[in-house]
């Protein structure tokens, strides 16, 4: 099983970094069209899709096809390009088999919810803007190990989910029994292999045991992850238990648990509706 997981890690190749970047531009009112174009340009799949749409028959009858992103942006406007980029980046990042124990929509929704909530918590607290951005990315990617398990071992992971539902044992512990490893260990190895920043590896490792970490980004994501798991409408990643986060973590972030839940039920719901619109449709 461990060897099969190694193979799957090879298959995933380089991590698609585009999604968090596109999300960042979408959420930042001050971001510019040029920034967006530069991000899309780094991703050939995304570039191809944007050009494909701007050359689609709806905009048809051109003397010459639109051949570059800059022209496509002038023609279709920032909004359309942004929405297309986001929808495409999301689909590419979380393509999962239909009918599995966890759907790609649910997985995506959970990850985005944790990312956006992490960002909202960071903005309120004593963190710098830069740290806030890191929280967003860590929130988005803290479950990459589980994404691999769901994508490549959907049957086995289905067993994990069923057992997690019927027992009092955490899905992570059951992963250890079924796979001989956990999504956290896989995620850490992926992150190290891709030379991702330290705070991401730390977040992957300790998002459900923040007491073991001394990084504020991990604390923020831990609080966000626990909060999102309390709300059934915010996606599903296979867990039926959510960790109790120690009071000291909330104190360090200068926020209370009920304040976090109130952000979830007000601001976050609105933000996620926006994200939902983006992912829908073609």
């Amino acid at each position: 099983m461990i060897r099969a997981i190694d193979n799957a890690m090879d298959q995933i190749g380089s991590l698609n970094y585009t999604l968090p970047k596109v999300m960042r531009v979408v959420n930042d009112m001050n971001s510019t069209a040029l920034e967006l174009v530069r991000i899309i340009q780094m991703d050939p799949v995304l570039t191809a899709r944007v050009l494909k749409v701007s050359n689609s028959s709806y905009f048809g009858v051109r003397p010459q096809p639109i051949s570059n992103l800059r022209r496509a942006t002038i023609l279709m406007g920032m909004n359309t390009i942004r929405n297309l980029a986001l929808a495409t980046a999301v689909k590419n990042s979380f393509e999962m088999r239909a009918g599995g124990a966890v759907s790609s929509e649910d997985f995506w929704r959970h990850s985005v919810a944790v990312a956006v909530l992490s960002d909202l918590i960071a903005k309120r607290g004593p963190l710098s803007r830069q740290e806030g951005e890191k929280c967003f990315v860590v929130g988005m990617l803290h479950l990459i190990g589980r994404a691999l398990l769901i994508q490549h071992f959907s049957q086995e992971f289905g067993r994990v989910v069923i057992e997690a539902k019927n027992s009092n044992v955490s899905a992570t512990q059951i992963e250890q029994a079924v796979f001989g490893t956990t999504h956290k260990k896989i995620g850490m190895r992926l992150a190290a292999r891709w030379k991702l920043p330290e705070e991401l590896i730390d977040g992957v490792a300790f998002y459900d045991t923040p007491d073991d970490s001394d990084r504020i980004t991990t604390w923020v994501v831990a609080v966000a992850s626990a909060a999102i798991k309390r709300r059934a409408t915010m996606g599903f990643v296979g867990d039926y238990k959510y960790p109790e986060i120690d009071k000291s973590i909330y104190e360090a972030l200068n926020i209370t648990e009920s304040e976090v839940m109130s952000i979830v039920d007000t601001t976050l719901v609105v933000e996620l509706d926006k994200a939902d619109e983006f992912i829908r449709g073609d």
């Binding site: 510019t32 069209a33 040029l34 174009v37 749409v53 689609s56 028959s57 709806y58 905009f59 048809g60 009858v61 570059n68 800059r70 022209r71 942006t73 002038i74 023609l75 406007g77 920032m78 909004n79 359309t80 929405n83 297309l84 929808a87 619109e277 983006f278 829908r280 449709g281 073609d282």
Partner: protein, 304 residues
């Protein structure tokens, strides 16, 4: 061919004493030629038009409705358009492609139970929505219709109607294309080539807008703001200034220019003053093709 205005106001209905002349209903036009007619947009003005159609034409004639785009002020009258409730009546709705959701779904969504008591699927008329492709003309009776995508935050169509050698072009919720990438300033010599390409793209797109309206007997054009208002915080909102609308009308060589999509804050008095100001300016311009300039006025008919 003639056009009658049933709604001229931009953004939101503005009933009241200060908007009596140009009108307070949101976008709705009726284009007529001989026995044929086309409705453009289903803003609040469409309610009275629907009632008139039933009165004058009974419940048998087919209705053709062109939608420029699905922002509220262009579709919010649809749930009050009585012909849509008549069993067996054919209602053909044409509109733009949407990247996020299908055209018919967007129309239906505003009639979800939370917003309106009658669901879109419960409408009794035989309704068939169709999305249009750029510059692919089609005929409605004796009128040839050509759609073109224009610059607005959501995919939006302008329409050109032609019949018996006369033409009416309707272009609302459109903003001149501009360099949204560099803001007209080349950031470095390394990017000079890309920068110049973007400037060329902007020029080409704006030229296509002029070409589309070329030689129209009537151009009905978005002119929500004055140039000063536009430049002070309204760039990127998807609308044109009166000054730019006039420049486009001149470049396209149109005979009658009707300013449209009046700002909700614009009073009759202010609009009259603006029209007079620009009429004077045009009268002093040598070889100006525009023979007639006015604000589009609710209830009024203009002949091409």
């Amino acid at each position: 061919m003639e056009v009658q205005f049933w709604g001229t106001r931009g953004s939101i209905p503005t009933p009241g004493l200060e908007t009596v002349r140009y009108g307070g209903n949101t976008t709705c036009l009726e284009i007529r030629h001989k026995d044929d007619f086309i409705i453009i947009d289903a803003g609040t003005g469409i309610r009275a038009l629907g009632n008139k159609l039933l009165r004058e034409r009974g419940s048998t004639s087919d209705v053709h409705l062109l939608i420029t785009h699905t922002h509220w002020d262009h579709i919010q009258g649809l749930p009050f358009f009585l012909p849509a409730f008549i069993k067996g009546k054919k209602l053909r709705i044409f509109g733009p492609h949407n990247h996020q959701s299908s055209f018919d779904k967007v129309l239906a969504d505003q009639m979800q139970f939370s917003y309106f008591p009658v669901n879109f699927s419960q409408l009794q008329a035989d309704i068939s929505p169709r999305t249009l492709h750029e510059l692919e003309s089609f005929e409605i009776g004796s009128i040839k219709v050509t759609p073109k995508y224009v610059n607005h935050p959501v995919p939006t169509l302008a329409y050109r109607m032609e019949s018996d050698g006369k033409s009416i072009t309707f272009m609302t919720d459109v903003e001149p294309y501009r360099d949204i990438l560099y803001g007209g300033v080349c950031p470095s010599e390394d990017e000079r080539e890309e920068f110049e390409d973007v400037q060329a793209a902007v020029r080409e797109q704006n030229q296509q807008i002029v070409d589309f309206a070329k030689g129209s007997d009537i151009l009905i054009m978005d002119a929500q703001y004055t140039k000063e208002e536009y430049l002070n915080g309204r760039v990127g909102w998807g609308h044109t200034s009166i000054e730019d609308a006039i420049d486009i009308g001149i470049a396209a060589g149109v005979t009658q220019l009707l300013l449209f999509h009046h700002d909700p804050d614009r009073t009759d008095e202010q609009l009259e003053a603006l029209v007079n100001l620009h009429r004077e300016r045009l009268s002093e311009m040598p070889n100006c093709p525009i023979e007639f300039l006015d604000g589009a006025e609710e209830g009024k008919t203009f002949v091409a």
